[in-house]
Amino acid sequence: MISRRDFLQSAMAATALYGASSYGNWARLAAQQSITQDDLLRFDTFGNVSLIHVTDIHAQLKPIYFREPSINLGVGDNRGALPHITGADFRKAYGIADGSAAAYALTYDDFAALAASYGRVGGLDRVATVIDAIRAERPDALLLDGGDTWHGSYTCFHTQGQDMVNVMNALSPDAMTFHWEFTLGQDRVRDLVGGLPYAALGQNIFDAEWDEPSEDFEPYRFFERGGVKIAVIGQAFPYMPIANPGWMFPDFSFGIRDRRMQEMVDEVRAEGAELVVCLSHNGFDVDKKMAGRVQGIDVILSGHTHDALPEPVLVGETVIVASGSNGKFVSRVDLDVRDGRMMGFRHKLIPIFADVIAPQPEMTALIEAQRAPFATEMAEVIGKTAEDTTLFRRGNFNGTWDDVICDALLSEREADIALSPGVRWGPSITPGQDITREDIWNVTSMTYPNVYRTEMTGEFIHIILEDVADNLFNPDPYYQQGGDMVRTGGLGYRIDIDQPQGSRISEITLLKTGETLDPAKSYVVAGWASVNEGTEGPPIWDVVESHISKLGTVASTPNTSVKVVGA
């Protein structure tokens, strides 16, 4: 008798073949400049259940450019492991041809040139077309949103997430979990969650006072699809009050809580679940570790770290799917569930090429209706990029967008040193492109945007760098928060990622004088996105807008201020 493990492994091989052939196919079609919607959607419907996963949309309603990272280091057991490969290594791992559509979607090289050929990605009206097409083949497919949906744009900020709720409701998801949503403040979150026509899930969302499961969120919900009893268990971002301002949602506590996750899996299995899906905002490495500790999860739909993987990663018998960010990808996972168990799967990471996939007209109209009240302010052109400059953020250290933001902090706030958060959201701007107010908000929008200006000692700056570095490079994923390294302006340093906290950072240099930072001396520091209540200063988008309007044309120069060791 063939075991479930054999089934999964053969299914994995089938997926690999399928994935490779479909990716290779893109490359060939792209070479002929004839990539079509049918090519992107082609999928041999498999088994009896379909899952559709979107995550980390960050309120990007419209098509955008999004450059994937050139540096995404793994540490400990994850050194060099998926998803911690980039560029040529990534293409080699999946058999993706240089210069192909898949290379453009998944890797960073030649980004500006490929962006000119392949155009923008994402747009929820294109996502709607893809979801409609999958539902045409499998009418009862489950649509699951991994969260970071109600955050990240001009309209989302000004409507306190209402624009995204309206648009997502039209897509009719079955369930959602959460992260940045909580930065709308707990009252607004309760309002919006209370009105959702689908499940708001998080087994790890607790009442902070009583340390009991929150009454505002369900741990899981059952669905009956294709004759299969499916349990979807939610896992919200575990480190909300640490990575984001806890004072905005003081009633809530989070954490990984993997023992409770095991209890929930056991509970749903006892109630007859034949398929257990975890809709997670843990981040990929945390999900991998959790999959090895919690028994009985069939599929983890992974979000938070914005990784896009053309094939799932298997941990034991758990399939982990990573679906990118900013509306750039939709994952489809078809499953064969028989005799109360998952017997095989087929998967496709569908890139949303905005010029190839037709927008769904009703959704286009709905999106425009959300944007109309703000259209004039958003469209104002503040500056443009130079012909050799791409602005991007993703990567473990400063992206070019971060450099622009740090320069704005230094010059507009007359500071020695700038600190900017290492978040992973924010679309890219291609060479010679106008930079609108909307573009600036896309990389700065948040509910705690104030730019502080303060003095910090050299010693304290060192402590901050060490602290953030450990949140990224601690060898145990459960101690990582999933962002990237804090971005710095006016400051250079050396980082050895393999050292323990307190010993990673050295050679901290004040760039304007070339001097080594004196631990006892105070320096003027400007930064934003402080998690502390009562932070004062102008919002970051005004500071960046003022800087860019003075520059007119934004040109980036290679940033060599961070020396990375141990990569």
């Binding site: 340390d211 023992r259 402590i463 804090v486 009562g534």
Partner: protein, 139 residues
């Protein structure tokens, strides 16, 4: 500006002070307390479950929970606090369960340790690292 980061800054400083030496500053006090509790007996590692957050949401009030079925006594320690002793739970023969939970203050990143004395006189130990961080920028 009002730099309200002050409190977290102090926590951060404590954290670095503790980790910079490579060993928790008060480790020997902890070792002494464990030696006193066990009378120097060997300590095993099964049959005791210690639940702590991996990263504290607030270092001033960290929820911890310990359970050791069959224990007569469980001692809790925080090895990076100036006074590592947290609590010792004693269970009588009629106790329905041998578990306890409380909230503790942690001066910085450190190990929380639970040692259980079992009914047969053997000892079991569990330890978890709890990280206390400045925090800031999640993706």
């Amino acid at each position: 500006m009002n730099f309200t980061r002050r409190e977290t800054v102090l926590l951060g400083l404590a954290s670095v002070a503790a980790t910079a030496t490579g060993l928790p500053a008060f480790a020997s006090l902890t070792d002494d307390a464990i030696a006193e509790f066990t009378g120097g007996a060997d300590v095993g590692s099964g049959g005791i479950t210690l639940t702590t957050p991996e990263i504290a949401e607030n270092g001033n009030t960290v929820p911890i929970e310990v359970s050791a079925p069959g224990a007569v006594s469980i001692m809790l320690l925080a090895d990076g606090n100036p006074r590592p002793a947290v609590a010792t739970y004693n269970f009588g023969p009629l106790a329905a369960s041998q578990s306890g939970s409380t909230r503790i203050r942690l001066a910085g990143t450190q190990n929380v340790i639970a040692v259980a004395k079992m009914a047969d006189g053997t000892f079991q130990q569990a330890a978890n690292t709890v990280k206390v961080t400045i925090g800031g920028c999640g993706g």
